[in-house]
């Protein structure tokens, strides 16, 4: 039996996990097992491993061509298959297409909610506010509430100047 990661060397490490009624089996060679930290009980976690492996198997090579390489760091799809890790932050843009399906299986959602760096948070909030104001303005015009519309127009002006100040800073 060949190792299910490198598909080159014979598998000597066999793992079985039963989750609910589903049984998952992994057969690894010694080197790949080591690379995945299986000889190391304290850091070993089947779930991580499965996700990591699943990652390499599910990253769809046809989505962007097998030879795709990150322009910043030179990391390739084949490298991801080996390690289950990416090369640099830019890789997320390079391999976006192939990663999309994978992220869906790993996480609750594919859009981040929660903390953001302060500087970005402010601009993000401003953009959200601007969008909300523009919606209100459209509605005010539609209902011919020109008094509110004038007020909203001023607020939009203020909000968008705040964004452009941030952008030029």
């Amino acid at each position: 039996m060949l190792c299910c990661v490198c598909k080159e060397k014979p598998a000597t490490v066999h793992l079985t996990q039963i989750v609910g009624e589903k049984m998952q089996k992994l057969d690894l060679c010694e080197e790949c097992a080591k690379a995945k930290g299986i000889n190391d009980p304290t850091s070993f976690a089947m779930a991580d491993l499965m996700l990591g492996l699943g990652a390499s198997q599910e990253l769809d090579p046809s989505a962007a061509g097998a030879e795709l390489k990150c322009p910043r760091c030179g990391f390739s799809q084949a490298d991801f298959k080996k390690s289950g890790r990416l090369g640099c932050p830019e890789c997320y843009r390079t391999f976006a297409e192939g990663l999309a399906g994978l992220l869906k299986t790993m996480h609750k959602d594919t859009r981040h909610v929660g903390k953001a760096p302060e500087a970005l948070r402010q601009s993000r909030d401003n953009v959200d506010r601007l969008k909300a104001l523009q919606k209100k303005l459209a509605k005010a015009i539609e209902t011919e509430d020109f008094e509110t519309a004038a007020q909203l127009r001023d607020e939009i002006k203020a909000a968008s100047s705040a964004i452009s100040v941030k952008a030029t800073k």
Partner: protein, 357 residues
């Protein structure tokens, strides 16, 4: 370099630290993963780039207000034994212990913050608290992260959040975990259904010192798996709820065992005491499992004159690297088993037999 052992809190002091519900929750931890924009992740970066990243991050972390007087060192300056001691203290991961040039560690005086530089990500910062203090740990690490983001340019994407080397950590980069001592659930054979239901909530349960469900020393670690699509607060609150429920189940299991099967409980604890107090050779695995029963005995009032801290201290000092540190010669596993048994016997000589009326 500063002397690590002079810096570290001694095992005796560490065992004295108290926290809410610490008879079941041994410790709480929140970890955040962060990376710098425009730099390769540590696993892909060449040595010069890793060194450059370390030289940017380490001073930035050390200069934070909460990190004054901290221990900051490059991983190549540690001996293999010292790294192993840090692993046994749960301050660094095994993965980090394998690092050398271009990776580093910043640990504050109280050991409440421990920052790993160039582990799998550029930054793995963790807040540690004794007992059940998940929320406090989150607040603390959130504050540290907010202070640090003013000094470092984090890789962040509006859609995907904080970008991490492994896609499993993407988004919030958060890992919230609690270390639980659950002998009651193990003895009453309720642990497997509990683990299964916790898994269904998207949380992982790991044995701390071994894979599978029969965790060494009946110690389990519960943590979140998903990091993208939910806010930190939602993740923290879910873990808090689940841990609170596990605490309740464990307390109930102990009560029921004492009520329905007192002989089984007394037998386990009595035998554990008998072996620990009289053995002349004992492996670290057996020690852990028996100490767990002794700890349960203390919790149930079977050792009225003994503090739980004594057991917790032994949990630490009987580990291989801690044991090795106490003697100068390099020990084989067999020699360690002899010295371990001597030490345990000596420490338990004033602990009377369990009182079972």
């Amino acid at each position: 370099m500063k002397d690590l052992h002079a810096f570290l809190i001694s095992p005796a002091e560490a065992a004295q630290q108290r926290g809410p519900h610490d008879r079941i929750v041994m410790s709480s931890r929140v970890r955040l993963a962060r990376n710098l924009r425009g730099a390769s992740f540590p696993g892909w970066a060449k040595k010069p780039e890793r060194v450059r990243v370390l030289e940017i991050i380490q001073p930035a972390v050390s200069s934070l207000p909460g990190m004054a007087d901290s221990f900051a060192e490059s991983m190549d300056n540690f001996t293999a034994l010292d790294k192993q001691i840090l692993v046994e203290r749960h301050l660094i991961s095994r993965e980090h212990a394998a690092k050398s040039v271009g990776s580093g560690l910043v640990l504050n005086r109280e050991e409440s913050f421990c920052v790993l530089i160039n582990e799998e990500d550029h930054l793995r910062m963790q807040a540690l608290r004794p007992g059940f203090q998940i929320r406090e740990a989150w607040t603390a690490i959130d504050r540290l992260d907010s202070a640090l983001e003013k000094k470092l340019d984090y890789a962040f994407d509006n859609e995907l959040g904080y970008l991490t080397a492994c896609p499993t950590n993407l988004g919030t980069g958060i890992r919230v975990s609690a270390m639980l001592h659950l002998p009651g659930l193990v003895l009453s054979e309720q642990i497997n259904p509990i683990i299964q239901s916790v898994n269904k909530l998207g949380l992982a349960v790991r044995g701390l010192y071994g894979e599978g469900t029969e965790a060494l020393g009946n110690i389990f670690q519960v943590s979140n798996q998903m990091t993208l699509g939910e806010s930190e607060t939602v993740i923290v609150e879910r873990l808090e709820k689940v841990v609170a429920q596990i605490i309740e189940h464990e307390e109930n299991a102990r009560e029921t065992l004492l009520e329905k099967k007192p002989k089984v409980v007394f037998n386990h604890i009595g035998r554990a005491y008998g072996i620990l107090a009289n053995a002349h050779s004992i492996s670290s695995k057996e020690t852990m499992n028996l100490l767990s029963l002794l700890r349960l005995g203390v919790d149930l009032g079977l050792f009225p004159n003994t503090q739980r801290a004594l057991v917790d201290e032994l949990f630490l000092t009987t580990q291989p690297a801690h044991l090795q540190k106490q003697v100068s010669d390099k020990l084989s596993a067999e020699e360690r088993d002899l010295i371990r048994a001597d030490m345990v016997r000596d420490r338990l000589k004033n602990v009377g037999r369990p009182v079972t009326k």
